[in-house]
């Protein structure tokens, strides 16, 4: 099952390494990571989406993560009301004759077109992972040339 874990970490060298080493040791697959400084320059906020077998497993992993000295807080927010956003850049093949069709298709997603040339366009979308996956599915038939995802960034609501 997929779980979204957020963590606030001391922004010191090697902390991401230590954090992911705990996941690595327990053979947990990381689906996405995002990390960046917070309102407090000394802290990093990270969001991990991971695949685990059970709730018991993720609970245990969180305890092990909490034991790291530079971890300030770790939480599984999957089942809590939360906000999470991800950015994706997709370069899709768009020869002039198909371009209009592509744009009509993706219009409801409220995407931004950030780069255009004769054969392809690069589209940027911000949203939750479901939305991003829906867009990707839609574009696959046209030929995705390159794609980059940031991974979700999120926290609890309220």
């Amino acid at each position: 099952m997929r779980r979204m874990i957020i963590a606030r970490l001391h922004n010191v060298t090697g902390i991401l390494n230590r954090f992911t080493a705990v996941l690595n040791r327990r053979q947990v697959n990381i689906i996405s990571i995002s990390a960046g400084v917070t309102e407090n320059q000394e802290l990093t906020h990270t969001t991990f989406v991971v695949e685990v077998d059970s709730l018991g497993e993720i609970e245990q992993i969180i305890k092990q993560l909490n034991r790291l000295i530079d971890v300030i807080e770790v939480a599984d927010i999957t089942d809590l009301p939360h906000v999470a956003r991800e950015v994706v850049l997709i370069k899709v093949s768009a020869p002039p004759e198909r371009r209009a069709e592509i744009f009509t298709m993706i219009d409801p997603f409220r995407v931004n077109v950030v780069d255009v040339n004769r054969e392809n366009v690069t589209i940027q979308l911000t949203g939750d992972s479901d939305k991003i996956e829906a867009l990707i599915d839609l574009l696959i038939p046209y030929g995705i040339i390159r794609m980059a995802r940031t991974g979700s960034a999120g926290f609890e609501r309220g």
Binding site: H10, T13, G14, N17, R18, A21, R25, G56, E59, Q60, K63, Q64, N66, R67, I69, D70, V71, I72
Partner: protein, 582 residues
Amino acid sequence: MKKIKLKTAKSGSQLVLETLKDLGVDIIFGYPGGAMLPLYDAIHGFEGIQHILARHEQGAVHEAEGYAKSSGKVGVVVVTSGPGATNTVTGIADAYLDSVPLLVFTGQVGRASIGKDAFQEADTVGITAPITKYSYQIRDTADIPRIVTEAYYLAHTGRPGPVEIDLPKDVSTIEVTEINDPKINLPNYHATEHADKNQLSKLLTQLSVSKKPLVIAGGGINYAEATEELRAFIDKYHIPVVSTLLGLGTVPVENPLQLGMGGMHGSYASNMALVEADYIINFGSRFDDRLVSNPTRFAENAVVAHIDIDPAELGKIVKTQIPIVSDLKEALQILVSADRVTTDFDEWTAHVLENKHRAPFSYGKVNDFIRPQQAIEWIGQYTDGDAIIVTDVGQHQMWAAQYYPYKNPRQLITSGGMGTMGFGVPAAIGAKLAHPDKNVILFVGDGGFQMTNQELALLNGYHIPIKVVLVNNHSLGMVRQWQESFYDERRSQSVFDAEPNFQLLAEAYGIKHLKLEDPKTLSEELKILSEDVPMLIEINISQAEQVLPMVPAGAHNDEILGVYFTDGTDAITGASEEVNHA
């Protein structure tokens, strides 16, 4: 950050030593090398800290471990960069698994060379991160007092463990006239966890409704200095106790409620009690698989309460209905002083104690060879159960756990979690340095002895009168036993065809030595142990000797092989084939 002016300029190395001294460190174990030359230069003539020169860095770490495990103080190690640092890895991992407070200083190449594959460079922080409680690389000389203070604090508080400090050569050379605020700055670190009173009363309520309770006494009792409280709790309620390997001594063997070690080579009484109990209270053991064997079937019919200072241990292996995060001493104090709940365990206690008398650890005494079990029993008598016993890893370790009559906390110094061969000789040295007035006896196999016997050089050099009892079965006994039991007796690479003359080896190191081979005279000959000089006593035993009883890996605790009943009933012949190979 607050700066503090120094009266005189000081080098990084001086700051390291002075901070250690201020923290109360009076002994360090180490081995010099290029990147540590500045520190070693400062050690020269530094007063108040004794330096013990090991003969291998692994030796230095195990020495510090033996010192720390037997005293509760922080063991301090100093080694050089690269190969010096990598040689410490086994010892650091050993300390990590057994929660031993250690401070390990490793040299590092100068800051400008880090990451450039410089001479004798290794990514020590990277290598040791997964096996330390924390690791630092000091980048600024002015940070030394804070980092050393913090690291020391981390090592011995909370769940103790090894902390690594990587010290680049230039950082230790530079002289500074002011330092950064040395105050500990660990806002999210919980040094002590306080018992939740509600949870503790749940523990007692469950006791009042249970009929067959059992206490597991783990190594955490030692670390929390909670022996008195544990004994008081057990006496108050008359609950039988299973010790883990690292918990031996916290309840004396002669206490009638002590069932002995549980698990793979534990007693029949302990293992049966683990299966039959309806309530298991675990104080400071991490449910290691050598105790639990098969976690899916462990304590199937029991409610489990687990008290540990590390929340990550609760529910990790065994499902726990009453998890309590706490300092053990505090929790036990509250439990002991709480109003007595009404209990009735008489029938249960009588039953488990009967098992203890029906099937004690036993061995046939008539033999052409010396029986190692008997040798240990005699040593137990001659030392009045009061010696510090250190072991290496293997069969002798298990016999020492089964047959020595422990009665004190921190009395058995052994590598529990890692099972590190080579631990014994150096750990015994460390234990003796911590307890010069105690008799320190090491049991070591001929295999593990050959891994760190170079440390014998310290015995005369520093006047460390430990007694090395070399239990020689001319084989890697424990491996051989598994091959005999589970691999159709194919003794692949477990028998030594050629061995050094251990007597000459001891001679080379200038220590007293003797070889004992005759079971008839052994008892008399062993009395030599009372002499206060370093010595090697080699005991020749049969190569066929086995450690019994045994719960095969993965079997249930009652699927125990090799039990002999004093009343002549049939021995249990054992578990199914399937289980044997699990």
